[in-house]
Symmetry: C2
Subunit: 108 residues, 2 copies
DNA sequence: TCTATATTTAACCATATGGTTAAATATAGA
DNA sequence: TCTATATTTAACCATATGGTTAAATATAGA
């Protein structure tokens, strides 16, 4: 799905993960606040924020000339659903393997 | 971390996720077996497999001229650790919010 | 040794990505 | 209205990505 692509793609970059981490306190942060913690131009950070925003991982509220950013956990939903399902399928396979081993044991 | 970058980057592509899904039965699949299910050139699939391999998500065993691929769940570890921690931090924040609301309730 | 099969590698192409600086936009405040 | 501030947008650059076809490599098997 498109949303998985964009969410995982967005998180596959350390700068963007760092931005997410900055937002994890749940409060709103100005773009300038974010910029402070990165050795990167304002415009560079701005672009990363836009990637996160269009992936649905970050929301933006504009108040006058300043933009306030916040984390949107729903943006991760589809991606983690896929990962969780992957793990579930894998474990189901492991389950089968185990019961095979068990029946092998009992044959002795 | 580099491993998070490469794992998430690798999974941010539907073809590569489909390849992972093909390997989730736990058995080994030849590259040709994978190719069959994709409307893409052999070389195209080969490149995707290499991306998954270097991200640590897929392992390769060569037997003669055929290469057998298998899923490597460890490749996902660091990435899911980061995501899990993200969720934990977010929920901690929610916890704080709840207790704030509770103490607000009790003030009435 | 010859031929067929399985796969990768090389060369190429178009587009995306991650960064920059400079200019544009929008609003705050005197 | 003028100036400062917050942010985006434009133009640019180098490199990465996702795909192709054609050639190379390695091995199987007659």
């Amino acid at each position: 799905m498109k949303t998985i692509d964009s969410a995982l793609g967005a998180l596959a970059d350390p700068t963007r993960r760092a931005i997410i981490e900055q937002l994890l306190d749940g409060s709103e942060h100005r773009v300038s606040d974010i910029v402070e913690f990165h050795s990167m131009s304002f415009a560079g950070v701005s672009k990363h924020v836009r990637v996160l925003e269009s992936a649905g991982l970050v929301g933006r509220r504009k108040s006058g000339r300043t933009h306030f950013l916040h984390y949107r956990p729903e943006g991760l939903q589809d991606a983690t659903d896929w990962i969780d399902q992957t793990k579930a399928l894998w474990n189901r396979r492991l389950g089968k393997l185990e019961s095979l081993l068990e029946s092998d044991e009992s044959k002795k």
